[in-house]
Symmetry: C2
Amino acid sequence: MQVKDVDKHRFKQLFEEKLANAVKGESVLDEAMAYATLDGGKRVRPVGVYLGALAAGGSASLDETLDVALALELVHSYSLVHDDLPCMDDDELRRGKPTVHKRFGYATAVLAGDALLTRAMQLLTGVHSAAFEKAAAEIACGALRMVYGQQSDLDGCATREEYLGMYADKTGALIVAAFRAGALLSGADEETTGAITEFAKHLGLAFQLADDLLDDGDVSILDVEGRDAVERMLAEETSRAELAAKSLNAAEELISFADALMKRTY
Amino acid sequence: MQVKDVDKHRFKQLFEEKLANAVKGESVLDEAMAYATLDGGKRVRPVGVYLGALAAGGSASLDETLDVALALELVHSYSLVHDDLPCMDDDELRRGKPTVHKRFGYATAVLAGDALLTRAMQLLTGVHSAAFEKAAAEIACGALRMVYGQQSDLDGCATREEYLGMYADKTGALIVAAFRAGALLSGADEETTGAITEFAKHLGLAFQLADDLLDDGDVSILDVEGRDAVERMLAEETSRAELAAKSLNAAEELISFADALMKRTY
């Protein structure tokens, strides 16, 4: 089956099943991994893989797309587990539930994050098609940029440029990786991959800015730019995302996805 | 070039060059990764990949073997960085130097571990030969078993069986992965891979037991078995490793490697 044979809703259903199976197990580590991932999240990144594949024509293998989406969501989840740790953001709650370290202890939380990332690595290695391998490489690159982005966030940002650079790594890279991976799974050529990447970059930044406007109070680009400027940036990024989408297959789906993302966070 | 074209000393030289290049960079994260890895370590696991490839005939691509060895050493290094953390073993020193969290802070240490694992993932993904992909899958599986082993260690062991199970995962799995990956890179058949695996399993356990006897005082299998019994187990595992090696290419190299390992730790 190919990606074009299922709609987004069906893809998400199949994704949830795959995810639940991937984190099943007897160890407390499996319990922590399930707790960290089976959280009713929006699955922005898995959907990004699906849409990237669709935008490039939808010929991607459905199984490969689900596996890549799963690996990506595990990478995303591991980053949240570690991000919440006392030595990092020190959060006691995530989506109203105790964070993994509050529920399972600090050590198991570190290990659960490690296990999630390692499980992603396991999914992405081994013998696969060339398209899958290229997609897997995208996920790994996005994951690496993300860690550097987290270090940049720790170091602190003092200017607009520093914030934009940090955002591009810390949150943008995985979103870009999602869409690019999907595109590569559908065998996208350089031009199409480029347009999909443009869409994903602007979408990723818009998503982050909308988040900042909502979480006003946390340290963010609002501290250096002010609310009006950030609202203007958000509007500009949203426009650019829509413009990039127009030249692609499934342009309407991409635009309505961007729209829904913004509405849920803003 | 093939693995059989270089001796162990030359392989280690080439390995160190590759490792140094892999952790170069401007970010404090690169500094932490370099600090964690360029530590004059014995490189047991990289040498294991080399020897596994040699034991299976030595036809493995030298470049692929170095890349797999590098990924494996990054996995090993990440595990030590996280293992030393205050919430885990809480070690201030490793090989007489301040641990990564003492030198760079808790947060950067968590991220440095994450970055090392992610860098390994990056090395193992992407378009490669089928032999490389199989080897990469071995590394990923070993890495996953290792995290579960660390959780088992956290949970605590009360019997000989529990210790042996935990050791097999926590320390044995990466050593087995090294030799198996090397063997697969040389296109080893099932029988040869099986014999190399046997060697690596017994070697790994012997290494761990020798370590326990040396570190007498730390929590280990010595607490449930007593010194005499553990010394007998060590002798048995060393014999079994030597027996497994005898049927393989480069048997002498394997046996002298096992011997040197035991001497450095016991």
